[in-house]
């Protein structure tokens, strides 16, 4: 079989089977012939090695398995997925709101820590205390900031990963109902490399230790300096 015959038969078979983008398919075989001819093979040899154009054409025809699925299954699946989407959507919004709260808390802790450290007192909001107490409380607050910020970051990653996992599941359910291929599932938890995970854990433990130690020391120093265990009364913190 010559190249022309092969290509003509292939084209006719593809058109008969209503294969999409016939030109695209023919292009691949054109290129195959061109490259093989350049290698010194004869047209007959190449066509023989390619196989029968009719059989090849059937391999391009979309498989008929989507037609064999019971009718109405797609609609039912869509309704089910729609209900599930509403529930999942509310969950994602709530989770997002929680992350926003955490982020705002982290920002507030940061502002408080900075005010304490640098003796800034916007609108008289910071109660009076000796600078040594403010310094210690400030460092404790910054450790709390780091903890909250890491928490925010992790929750955000978790939300993103959950969303991806849900989207994949959604797609696979629909694919299952319409006879399309199923993709592998996505893990629900953020996939953090082991090295980074160890670093984050060390950072968390350090800031937790700093928070505990500096809070305790700040309390002791303040109590001694005020001469009272309830130093806030001595410094009139809660009086307008």
């Amino acid at each position: 079989m010559t190249k022309i015959t092969f290509m003509n038969e292939l084209q006719r078979a593809l058109l008969e089977l209503r294969v999409q983008d016939v030109e695209d398919v023919l292009g691949e075989y054109e290129a195959h012939f061109a490259l093989k001819l350049a290698d010194g093979c004869s047209e007959e040899e190449i066509a023989k090695r390619l196989g029968s154009p009719q059989i090849l054409a059937t391999q391009f025809a979309p498989e008929a398995d989507s037609a064999s699925l019971p009718p109405g299954r797609k609609g039912l699946t869509s309704i089910g997925l729609g209900v599930s989407d509403v529930g999942a959507g509310m969950f994602f919004i709530l989770f997002g709101a929680w992350i926003l709260c955490l982020a705002v808390a982290a920002a507030a802790f940061f502002a408080l820590g900075a005010c304490l450290l640098f003796r800034i007192n916007p609108a008289g909001l910071i109660p009076s205390m000796p600078y040594i107490g403010a310094l210690l409380f400030g460092i404790a607050t910054l450790a709390l900031t780091l903890l909250t910020a890491l928490g925010t970051l992790y929750c955000a990653m978790f939300l993103q990963q959950l969303f991806r996992a849900y989207a994949r599941w959604h797609r696979n359910v629909m694919a299952g109902a319409t006879g399309k291929p199923i993709y592998p599932g996505v893990p629900a938890y953020p996939q953090i490399p082991a090295v980074q995970r160890r670093r984050i854990r060390a950072l968390l433990l350090t800031s937790l230790a700093v928070l505990a130690a500096f809070s305790a020391v700040a309390y002791i120093v303040s109590a001694i300096s005020a001469g009272s265990l309830e130093f806030w009364h001595v410094w009139n913190w809660f009086q307008a």
């Binding site: 290129a31 195959h32 490259l35 190449i46 391009f60 993709y183 592998p184």
Partner: protein, 105 residues
Amino acid sequence: MNVQYKKGVLELCVLSMLSRGNLYGYDVSERIAKHIDISDGTIYPLLRKLKSDGLVTTYLSEESGGPPRKYYALTQTGREEYEAEKTEWLGFVETVKKFLEGELQ
């Protein structure tokens, strides 16, 4: 060997080749034909199926002195699918081997 039987395995071989670098159709076909006894034409329908399944994507690349070639590259999904299928296949082969060698009855 049974054609249907081979097709699934060939898909995995093609995914594996593409996971190591992008190739054009002829290149894939030649590399496979060198080691596996199938007709040369079979790889093209397979590549097209992988594309319509979203596992690979194509792009045209100009080569020096010739028409642009259509290259195939794995998508993110293709990569995930390949890793999953690879693990499954290796486990399967291991079990079959044990049956054939009489370790499992």
